[in-house]
Symmetry: C2
Subunit: 150 residues, 2 copies
Amino acid sequence: MDTKHIISTEDRHNLLTGRIFMHVSRFLGQQFKANDIGLTREQWTILVVLWKQDGVSQQTIADETGRDKPSTTRLIDNLEKDGYISRQPDAKDRRLNIIVLTEKGKALEDKIMPVANKTLETLTHGLTEAQLLTVKEVFATIYENIDAHK
Amino acid sequence: MDTKHIISTEDRHNLLTGRIFMHVSRFLGQQFKANDIGLTREQWTILVVLWKQDGVSQQTIADETGRDKPSTTRLIDNLEKDGYISRQPDAKDRRLNIIVLTEKGKALEDKIMPVANKTLETLTHGLTEAQLLTVKEVFATIYENIDAHK
DNA sequence: TAATTATAGTTGTTTATGCAACTACAAAAT
DNA sequence: ATTTTGTAGTTGCATAAACAACTATAATTA
């Protein structure tokens, strides 16, 4: 037995099939629901961008959340329909939609973020900073590997 | 500055929003497509279970891949429609569908797995065994944290 | 300035997920 | 033996993602 290879090919596959993400995603959605938050996990990621910096283009949101444009368009459709944001034409570049939080959208931050943070704590309970740092490094390397392949 | 906290809350959020998984998933799908593999990443995860152990119930596949039953039903619908697998009634328990690979499904393994393994190598290029082991441990802890919360 | 190229956003289509509600069958309890 | 409870699988509905094809506008270049 080759003790150098403590990670099997199967392990590697498991890391990449997204199982963990599916579970985390489901769990976060359930926590939202249990706290009467009528937002999907995906919609929340859009609002996080806007809470950090209000008034950015859809393309910026797409880049920040790692989505393509069509997916972003539709998430924004739904958020606008539910009254959390509004699209406003950019004064200088008529191609751009500037996405702006409504009062309802702004107010939501204080309701959701405690739930998100608590969920985050639950999920990372028992993990060390060193472990999380390694995960961060690993993810960064994977991003680089993908980019290098384009 | 508190040097103990090298991982910010924002970092933690990034780890959990699934961005990395979206990118990995997209990349794997693109590699499949580039190699003329007419399977989705999700369908592939089902076949991986069957290549390891042919003739299991849908529930087993659901458990192994971390999906709920409806999702599994529909993935199996599509795989059956495309002729990779077939549903067979269990002799002893008439509730069960036993999922069996067709010849076409069996033959696919030799075509896909080299592509999947190569993609895996590309993605994990430059990562050490120790780093991957840590990721494995972190994921295991997160699973435990989710289970403990039910 | 006119033509070309690039960018921002939308729409159509296919596939997948989550949850709830349902049917069919099996196992356990009474 | 009958009722109750649990398990396997399906269907309906809403949301989301990937990709391709499209429109509108801006920037480049010839």
